[in-house]
Symmetry: C2
Subunit: 208 residues, 2 copies
């Protein structure tokens, strides 16, 4: 199962204790993730109840919740592998996404990367956030992105007033809800959305 990943912590949020996983726990975790993917494929993300998942996986609800905490986290877990890969690419990957390119180029590459990621996965994130309730800003991924953009913007512009605000403003359109609105309700192509974000980014970069 390519989407099954060990329960590591997200980078730089935790020193990662990583205890050994019991065999039955591992088996059930895999079953649950597979069952979730199967169910989403069969009935759609909105009609998939947690009871369904437990039944499909052949485990009890208690097990499901012990593992994944809530619906939101379960859906996140489904995409944790590509999410991790993207974060790695930001830190260790090739330029311009990774280190080596000038900060403004990296910033543009970052936005494009997030939007491409959203194109594949926004539906899961959005569905998770819907019932999770305001998860976005509290999620470690947001903190990670924020640090990254803050750093790049600082490198590009130096100390500027409203630095922090502009970081959030740049990240705003890179979240699932606005993306899905633009793509599905406004009918924009991913290229158009990317181009729009580049324009926003340029505006902010020019401002400094």
């Amino acid at each position: 199962m390519s989407h099954v990943v060990p329960p590591f912590e997200l980078p730089m949020s935790d020193p990662a204790p990583v205890e050994r996983e019991r065999a039955d726990a591992r088996r059930n975790r895999e079953r649950i993730l597979c069952a979730t993917a199967r169910l989403i494929d069969r009935v759609g993300i909105d009609c998939m109840s947690m009871d369904d998942v437990a039944a499909e996986a052949g485990v009890g609800k208690g097990t499901l919740y012990r593992r994944f905490g809530d619906r939101s986290s379960l859906l996140r877990a489904l995409i944790s592998e590509p999410e991790q890969a993207f974060q790695d690419a930001l830190i260790r990957g090739d330029a311009p996404l990774g280190p080596g390119a000038p900060p403004d180029e990296r910033l543009h590459a970052f936005g494009e990367g997030v939007l491409t990621f959203l194109d594949s996965h926004a539906v899961y994130i959005q569905a998770g956030e819907r019932l999770g309730g305001g998860k976005r800003y509290g999620h470690p991924v947001y903190a990670f992105y924020r640090t990254h953009v803050s750093l790049l913007l600082g490198q590009a512009l130096g100390e500027t007033p409203h630095h922090d605000y502009l970081v959030d403003a740049l990240l705003g359109p890179l979240s699932a809800e606005p993306f899905l609105y633009q793509r599905d309700l406004r009918g924009m192509s991913v290229e158009e959305i990317c181009a729009g974000w580049h324009a926003l980014c340029d505006a902010v970069l020019a401002q400094g």
Copy 2:
């Protein structure tokens, strides 16, 4: 005088209730709204269940839902009066919020107005959106704001590429979730948030 808003109709969030309201319906609507306000005051917005509201108001749940559709709409209804007043001020109020001032000034005034409104009411909107699920972009209020900002930006800059995208990007930080994040999690004052938005707005205006 290109910045004067032509007298065409902008979409309003609450199309006039053309039909006469039955006496019992009116009585119950008032009871429900009062009960909701009382309950929020007493137990807090998150602990207030719809059953509680119905019981406190002395009506059945059916009545509650017939009236207000869902929890999200009930919470919206609580602030519909000031919301309406703000929208009126945008169309018919004094400059710079209303017509008469140059578009860039009106844009700045709009942002400040929304943020001030959010400072009082974001909690209700956010609580509603949490269980409503992605209501923001589908809500008539968003369409109204969108039209308004689009018009002002168009007057200020003329036809520019990515016009629509930038409108959404400007509106992004003016929604409840980012606002509450900035105010309550990041500990920013409303003044700082306003100043940040002005900077964003200036960046976009300078870009054209």
